[in-house]
């Protein structure tokens, strides 16, 4: 319930901020739609990085009615495409953790980031690209299809400059919106329940995008929070489903600001290209990751929150 209230508060604040910006900068409204005519400045989606496996009706199905396993908004794990992919990644064959890692690697490294309106996981898989929420939904759907409970973790966030340069500063209006709010309205991660605990999966950035910002390549179980995202206190939300309104909001944005979204997508492509050069110069993903992690110093140990005698929560 409190997650819904937090979400509602964020949506209202974000929408108000955007409407205020549009009202006070009417000239900018036209720029939101404007697309460049130059060929090199139009966004062209890169080719999909994988083939979709064939579906077989005999494929095993996970229980569909339990919380965190059932289909939710924009995330149906029981479509033929999702189930076929889940089985090809090792659903019901691998141990849950190993399978979740495989699903994580797929969602993180095989899909491109592309700012586009919300739609179903099937369509994301066909396209091979989507927003971070599309990618998270792919991860969650793959987990649920294999009987592993999975959910969304959402928050408003500030971010390191390198990330901001690629995602926010590409378009003046997006930048103004970010500056006006003081943070990025909504960002997310997935969480899968394996080995008795919820394990975070940050599938948003590919290795090359992370390399372009000098970040280590995220592993299953590693959080973006504290590294390149910094959650605005009080905005963390755990949800089973993509909340109501986010989908409509994304369609509305696409309608009023196709030019802005295209510029952000071009920024993402440029970020990926730059990152590929960084990876090549470092001698590959693993060598790059080793070097960056070494420079970051000791790893941050995971703090498991255990019951402690002394703390009393009044009812």
């Amino acid at each position: 319930m409190s997650a819904n209230i937090t979400y509602l508060r964020l949506m209202l604040r974000g929408t108000f901020s955007l409407l205020k910006l549009l009202a006070t900068n009417p000239g900018d409204l036209r720029k939101l739609k404007e697309r460049s005519e130059a060929a090199g400045e139009r966004y062209v989606r890169p080719p999909r990085r994988y083939e979709l496996p064939a579906y077989d009706p005999s494929m095993k199905i996970a229980p569909r009615r339990q919380r965190y396993l059932r289909p939710t908004r924009f995330c149906n794990p029981y479509t033929p495409q999702v189930m076929a992919l889940a089985h090809s990644l090792g659903a019901f064959r691998l141990q849950p953790r190993q399978y979740a890692k495989a699903a994580f690697a797929f969602a993180k490294e095989k899909l491109y980031l592309e700012i586009c309106p919300f739609d179903e996981v099937d369509l994301t898989l066909q396209r091979g690209a989507g927003t971070c929420f599309h990618l998270i939904s792919v991860f969650i759907a793959l987990c649920r299809a294999a009987g592993i409970p999975a959910r969304y973790k959402m928050f408003s966030t500030t971010m390191i400059q390198a990330w901001r340069s690629a995602l926010v500063d590409q378009d003046p209006m997006v930048k103004k919106w970010y500056d006006s709010l003081g943070y990025f309205m909504i960002e997310g991660e997935g969480e899968a329940f394996v080995d008795g605990r919820w394990t975070v999966a940050h599938v948003g950035p590919t290795a090359e995008r992370q390399a372009s910002a000098g970040l280590p390549i995220t592993r299953f179980g590693e959080d973006a929070l504290g590294l390149w995202f910094f959650a605005v206190p009080g905005t963390l939300m755990i949800m089973e489903s993509v909340p109501l309104g986010l989908g409509r909001g994304s369609h509305f944005l696409q309608r009023i600001a196709p030019g802005s979204l295209e510029r952000v997508n071009l920024g993402v492509l440029a970020q990926s290209e730059a990152g590929l050069k960084v990876l090549a110069a470092a001698g590959g993903v693993e060598a790059y990751d080793r070097k960056v992690r070494m420079a970051m110093g000791p790893e941050v140990p995971t703090l498991e929150l255990e019951e402690k005698k002394g703390i009393v929560f009044a009812e």
Binding site: L181, G182, Y183, F230, P233, G297, V300, G310, I311
Partner: protein, 457 residues
Amino acid sequence: MAISYAEYMELFDKRVAAYIPPLESWSPVEKAIYGIPDPFHLPPEVAQRLQFEALSFTFRHHFQKNAYYHKLCLERGFTPEELKGPDDLERIPLLPDRFFKEYPAGRDFAMWLANVMTGDLPKIVIKEKNPSYDQVIEAFQQAGITVCFSSGTSGRHTFIPRDERTFNLSEYAITKGAVAIGYPGWSPEMKGYLMMPNPRKTHLFAGRVAMIYFDTISEVTVAIDREVSVDLLAKAMGADRSLAGRIVQYASRKTEKRMVEKIIAWLEYHQEKTQDVLTLVGAPYLLAGVLEQLEADGKRLQMGGRAGVATGGGWKIQEGRRIPSEQFRAWVEERLGIPPKDCIDVYGMVEGNGWMTHCPEGHYFHIPTCYFKPMVLDKEFKPLGFGQWGRFAFLDAAALSYPGFMVTGDLVKMLERCPVCDRTGPVLEPEVRRAVGEEMRGCGEEVRNLVSSDLGN
């Protein structure tokens, strides 16, 4: 006749007796902090013995009573049984300072603090269903645990819980260092101006740390005498762009000018009407505002010989502008008449209790090695020798309520001994930098943000 050093420190210890536990309860940590006459004049072999005994005690304490640190030690393959001599100290597993920035919200924040802490907790009652950071901090305070926070420009705070024992050790250590190095300059009759938030009204470390200042001298006037909560700080830092945030920022701009005027009025009053000996303690940025205002008004005060300055938090006066400490001291002398030898800086951080204090002669940071082991690490996080720039890390024996074995985001250069004065032990070069990729931070930066874009910034 000048007071002897022994009498001087006896007087100091009497003044701050409330911070010193009974002798019979002292562990090697207390012995290394309360039991020595001067942390900066110990024979090296004595400092090394005290340091080893204190750190062995603290390392064993965390290994035995802190679940995550115990696990970390096992993962890194180093346990108290393997700590056999001073050479082994560098093998003690270190935590990155980022560890204390990764915390959840609400009741989980209370659980996080409880899990970060070493040992048993007193009873802490969290009444709210979805408590704010401030409410959790207050609940811990009610139970005698001081949770201090700091933050970077992103608004991500560092939270450190100190029980009474650790807090008192830290308070005593910072003051003893400054009093010892300033011998015979301190007197309990002194009057002071605290250019930071009122320690009784904030848990911001760049304020709370000065609690002992009130017990050390006869009278303290506070520059920022209002509640400074986590929430208010977020608004003042600009992280909160809501209407409330903007109102706080606007109010800050309105009050800062008055703050500087009050400090100048206080200085002028004492120059003209009293013979009191004065101290100015706090953020260099606020003092820089005073100096700027005096410059704008064409005023020069003559406080030399009866006033001293102790700053903390670095020299980040404006974004992208850095004032070297030497230049700052010259400016202080020009506008306040206080000579550079009476203008010192203290380097420390919310995560630690080791306070490195400028010597008046050379303004190198002297390190209290009797309980605090400094290290400088290379890019692969291996210890470097003296005379090289690297990342600052430390083993802090005074951190008993949390593991204070840490790698920081600061770049320092450590020398085997001070090139200028005769104090013993290693020193840090006067300027401390931030490592590339680390957020700009420091107490001075927080106060700078707190008073917002003040003083014509």
